[in-house]
Amino acid sequence: MSRIITRRRFLLGATMTASALGLAGCDALVENDRTKSVLKIAEGFSMKTQRFLLGDDALAREFTEADISPTFRANGTSMPDNARYIDWMNQRFSGWKLEVGGLVDKPMQLSLAELKALPARTQITRHDCVEGWSAIGKWTGVPLGALLQAAGLKPEARYIVFHCADEYEKTLDGSGWYYESIDLVDAFHPQTILAHTMNGRDLEVAHGAPLRLRVERQLGYKQAKYLTGIEAVADLGQLYGGNGGFWEDRGYEWYAGI
């Protein structure tokens, strides 16, 4: 009898020790830089395969009014707390302007009224957060491709960077400002719009007022809110952490199609 208990105790102890060692071992492996760079190979595979299968213009599913989520969860920043943004908000964004610059022939500054006067596209699409939840909303906005055509991209431009008015993570070096980037395939996709209207009303502050990006074939963190500027660049290495976006600098994939 006592032998059995001893053996059970031994086995239990051994299992717990092994699983504790296993956990520590796994975490050490996860944090290893070599491991990270090997695992990153899959991101390239996923992007290349999806792009190959997608072609450039395959559309994300569009839904009907009946499918719209009763509550659209607001994630990330829901109220930017810097003085410049609060001023804009208090003046109902009359003083706000979107800057279009970088590698373009004609840099522009557009007010919200000017953006709203441009030809728009309306789409009812699903927003997928990287965390796993989804919500469906109706968005109206200016096709990004049309705006870039008006500004005239220089031949060396390869990415479009979106600058935002929210400092999602307060840091001493200012590296916590939200930003995002997409390549020209996504920038000129027909469903890629700068949305100023959501579910038939002006975009709410929690959802990125006065203007946010919708790039429908990618995950939620690509849909930058509180846009202040659009910049055409040749490469992403010079910006912030060099990975092309706020969350990308914190370990997430730049290509967020999966």
Binding site: S19, L23, C26, D27, V30, E31, K36, V38, L39, K40, I41, A42, E43, F45, S46, Q50, L53, L54, A58, L59, A60, R61, F63, D67, S69, P70, T71, F72, R73, R126, D128, C129, V130, E131, G132, W133, S134, A135, I136, E216, R217, Q218, L219, W247, R250, G251, Y252, E253, G257, I258
Partner: protein, 280 residues
């Protein structure tokens, strides 16, 4: 199963049971499914609730959720399944991290990495998903070309008769396993289980996984219709994963009770000892 006898040993007859590609893909699968499960639970923990339909977030009705509730000074783990509410403190919803109660769907010993890190979980999940898919396709190609599926996994005429199945279930329940000539092929329950895993559960796993990808939705919008929406696909992905865990549990139990050494040898070297014919 090839039908060459390697000769007699002291224990019985060694028989070449598993081809090289079957053995190799089996062990690659063990590795992939282990990492996929643990990293998958890490990803699930970023939003530990499941919904049905095209959309689903906090305010929408979920049919499974793992939450934390404040009860006095303590955190209480609450799991809701439909109308049922369970206190799962310590395991689901709230569990121990470094000596303190923490808000977590699944506990840290079930996730990769052990701490909450969605970005890492995704990186591991997608790398091993690719490996798993490549491994699966090579196995499928081999299975069809070498006639492994037809010869070894397709139930033979008569095997699906209720009387035959009944007899197999009874002998299985009594843990009496075939020896000799009968052990040269899988029994019907094995065949059905393997066919269900290879041709139903694993494709369902990959299909529902791809349906969660907004990029792949644009490639194959019919997947959204097939699985009833993005959130339904996520739920099915999760339920299928647990069906696979249940299969593995039974599979490993069967390996243990029907002869660990013999089974492991056959899955490593290919040779299985069928014992002395007809003595059981």
């Amino acid at each position: 199963m090839a039908t060459t006898d390697a000769g007699m040993t002291s224990g019985g007859t060694l028989f070449y049971r598993h081809g090289l590609l079957v053995r190799l893909s089996h062990w690659v699968n063990v590795l992939c499914m282990t990492v996929l499960l643990y990293s998958g639970l890490q990803i699930f923990n970023a939003h530990p609730a499941l919904y049905w339909g095209q959309y689903g977030a906090d305010d929408d009705p979920s049919f499974i959720s793992m939450e934390a509730e404040q009860e006095g000074n303590a955190l209480k783990g609450v799991t809701r399944i439909g109308g049922l509410t369970l206190d799962t403190t310590g395991i689901l919803g709230v569990s121990n991290v470094g000596g303190e109660a923490a808000v977590r769907g699944f506990p840290n010993w079930l996730t990769l990495p052990s701490y909450q890190d969605l970005a890492s979980g995704r990186r591991w999940h997608f790398f091993f998903a690719w490996l798993f898919v490549i491994n699966g396709f090579s196995y499928l190609a081999y299975g069809f070309i070498s006639r492994h599926f037809r010869r070894d996994l397709l139930p033979a005429a008569g095997e699906l008769q209720p009387s035959h199945l009944g007899r197999e279930i009874v002998s299985h329940a009594r843990l009496r396993f075939p020896k000799g000539a009968e052990a040269r092929h899988y029994n019907t329950l094995q065949k059905l289980a393997y066919v269900a895993v290879i041709f139903v559960l694993l494709p369902l796993m990959i299909g529902t996984g791809l349906t969660m990808s907004p990029g792949f939705n644009a490639v194959a919008p019919w997947l959204l219709d097939l699985f009833g929406g993005r959130q339904s696909a996520r739920t099915l992905h999760f339920l299928t994963a647990f069906s696979l865990v249940a299969f593995v549990a039974v599979h490993v139990a069967m390996v243990l009770v029907s002869g660990v050494f013999n089974n492991l040898r056959s899955m490593i070297t290919g040779y299985y000892d069928i014992g002395q014919g007809g003595k059981s």
